[in-house]
């Protein structure tokens, strides 16, 4: 069965600190995605990747970097965390055709103090 896992599940960070959120998928999907979810905004795309070594900017990339070192792993990096980045972050994987289903991880709740 398709599986996307995220770590950590909960994280408290200090303003100005570096935060790395990790995602692993066993679906062998080429595409992976990072979203954040805030009340009233639904899911907003931060970064995505077409495969190992590639990262692309989504709709709200400012303040975030991404890394895709392998087919299975996709990381989201906050170099200088700010309170406005407090949110729930979801990773997803999907096939590389238009409109393909995306499989989501359980989410990471990040609080920046």
């Amino acid at each position: 069965e398709a599986a996307v896992t995220q770590s950590p599940r909960n994280k408290v960070a200090v303003t100005g600190g570096k935060v790395t959120l990790s995602c692993n998928q066993t679906n062998n999907h080429n595409n992976m995605y990072w979203y954040r979810q805030d009340t009233g905004h639904g899911l907003r795309l931060i970064h995505y990747s077409y495969g190992a070594g590639s990262t692309e900017k989504g709709d709200i990339p400012d303040g975030y970097k991404a890394s895709r070192p392998s087919q299975e792993n996709f990381s989201l990096i906050l170099e200088l965390a700010t309170p406005s980045q407090t949110s729930v972050y979801f990773c997803a994987s999907g096939d590389d055709w238009g409109g393909a289903e995306q499989y989501f991880g359980p989410g990471t709740r990040l609080t920046v103090l």
């Binding site: 238009g98 409109g99 289903e101």
Partner: protein
Amino acid sequence: SQLAEENSWALSVHEGESVTVNCSYKTSITALQWYRQKSGKGPAQLILIRSNEREKRNGRLRATLDTSSQSSSLSITATRCEDTAVYFCATDESGSWQLIFGSGTQLTVMP
């Protein structure tokens, strides 16, 4: 602006009743998907309906798609308490791998 949007913030029904969530979108699409997100979990796809389809069923769920009015609906019959969740529609711009999600409709099914 949102490419896809549900038409209600919240709905509540009693168990056994039927309910419909509506969605409107703004571009030509390859497919429209409905996702459900239960509290504390990631979204999970319920139904994918392609642009050349008008209706799709999955158990108690029925999705319709009207490309002329750029709208879709998700109907749930014989609702159960475990159907309580946020329901999202999601669309792509034709050929794009990127999905655009609506803000979601909170459905509460009461005993």
